[in-house]
């Protein structure tokens, strides 16, 4: 990776970890903690995006102490690859395609995270998801169904908004900045 790629990866990681501050101030029920990964995928490419995703996961662990979530790094890799593919197809150019792409990303991410959550952690992971899982389980749903339903319901909204936001960012880039990213012109 070039120095520029490294600095952009660092930016993406910082965005992943800091955007939550803004989301929390607005009391929105999402994390958007892969916005930076998606942005890096669109601006630089899959390799940088995977790096951003993995580093974010490790940093998250270092900051929160929740090292047991490290296996979810796999989900970050999947998101990065999906986002890079979506960017190459030009899906982030318009909100009309970015939001469905985000929903698809949510599906893909949940399809990855639910099994990890089920097999490695017995369905108990991050706060919000676990609460939904517990409620569903108490209502009589089998554990596997409860975990999957909780993962999908949270991920779809989260990734749809994240992709929409990245689309808005890309559309708002000034010409001089956009010209630094030859990938965008495609």
């Amino acid at each position: 990776m070039t120095l520029r790629d490294l600095v952009l990866v660092r930016l993406g990681v910082a965005l992943n970890l800091v955007i939550g501050q803004i989301v929390a101030a607005l009391l929105l029920p999402v994390y958007l903690d892969s916005v930076g990964t998606i942005l890096v995928a669109a601006l630089v490419g899959p390799r940088a995006a995977i790096t951003a995703g993995l580093v974010s996961q490790v940093l998250n662990a270092v900051i929160s102490g929740n090292f047991s979530w490290l296996p979810f790094a796999l989900v970050q890799v999947v998101i990065a690859l999906y986002a890079a593919a979506a960017a190459r197809l030009g899906l982030f150019r318009r909100l009309g395609t970015a939001v469905p792409a985000g929903v698809g990303m949510g599906f893909t991410a949940a399809a990855c995270s639910a099994p990890i959550s089920y097999f490695l952690f017995g369905g108990v992971t991050a706060g919000g998801v676990t609460a939904v899982t517990t409620v569903l389980r108490a209502l009589g749903a089998p554990l596997g169904v409860a975990v999957a339903a909780a993962s999908f319901s949270t991920d779809l909204l989260d990734k749809a908004i994240a992709c929409a936001l990245v689309c808005v960012v890309l559309r708002s880039l000034p010409r001089t900045l956009a010209a630094r990213f030859p990938g965008l012109a495609r």
Binding site: R171, S172, P174, T176
Partner: protein, 268 residues
């Protein structure tokens, strides 16, 4: 519009940033706030827009109790220009960005055009804010606040990084607002700017108001300035060197005092 702070105390955890501040600013007054880093200047200004709540004391802006207001409500009366205001821009053109504040307030006919004109931004109005140099972005942020037509203006280091022509535009804009009764409070280290754009200087030290004097008194008080790590502005240096009377501080006053000076040709 009148601004009043009475018996203000404020702490960040165990650190007391403001230790009993009383200050009254009258409508149309232009006041500069000086002091070393950590004296509590920025904290004080944040109280005026409800971004911080004092642990004791009262802040009023006109007939509003600031304690009962949110920052976005205070925006109707108090315009706050942040030190790194160039970091708050986001719209796709400068004129759109300047219109953001007025739109949030629901102003029906925002005066975006005249404000851009006033700050010399008319030619770049359609450019993306990040396609102009950072100092110009700073002017854009100021324009965004002026377009909200606040009755009180609070500015944090408004001239840092600006060149002299840009600074002169800021000075003119502030003077114009003050003539219309807007109260202007500017935190600044730039004494050239203070000389032009303040009638009164408040000096803070360790969370208290240490001095509160007319601008021409403080700027002619070299020991007091040295104590703040500041040098007199060029206007005062020239006036002292030429022994001009009447303690002039503004360019126009000094030029007036220099009238009749006989110039020599430059030595080869």
């Amino acid at each position: 519009m009148d601004v009043r702070l009475a018996g203000i105390r404020f702490s960040y955890g165990a650190v007391e940033a403001l230790r009993g501040v009383d200050l009254a600013l009258a409508a149309g007054e232009q006041v500069a706030l000086l002091g070393p880093n950590g004296a509590g200047k920025t904290t004080l200004t944040r109280l005026l827009v409800a971004l911080r709540r004092p642990s004791a004391g009262r802040v009023t802006v006109g007939d509003w109790e600031v304690a009962h207001r949110r920052p976005d409500e205070m925006a109707r009366r108090v315009g706050y220009v942040f030190q790194h205001a160039d970091q708050q821009l986001f719209a796709r053109s400068i004129e759109e960005d300047v219109a953001f504040g007025p739109r949030c307030l629901g102003l029906r006919r925002p005066r975006v055009g005249p404000v851009l004109e006033e700050l010399g931004l008319a030619a770049v109005a359609r450019l993306h804010p990040y396609d102009v140099p950072a100092p110009t972005r700073k002017l854009v942020a100021l324009a965004g606040v002026l377009a909200m037509e606040p009755r009180v203006l609070v500015l944090d280091e408004p001239t840092a990084g600006l060149d002299r022509p840009q600074r002169d535009l800021v000075v003119e804009a502030l003077r114009g607002r003050a003539r219309d009764g807007v109260t202007v409070l500017a935190v600044s280290h730039d004494l050239g700017f203070v000389a032009e754009a303040a009638d009164r200087v408040v000096v803070m030290r360790e969370g208290r108001i240490a001095e509160d004097r007319p601008v021409r008194e403080l700027l002619w008080d070299a020991p007091a300035l040295r104590g703040l790590g500041l040098r007199p502005p060029a206007t005062v240096e020239v006036s002292v060197a030429l022994r001009l009377g009447g303690r002039p501080v503004r360019t126009a006053e000094v030029v007036e005092g220099m009238r009749g000076v006989k110039w020599r040709q430059a030595p080869e």
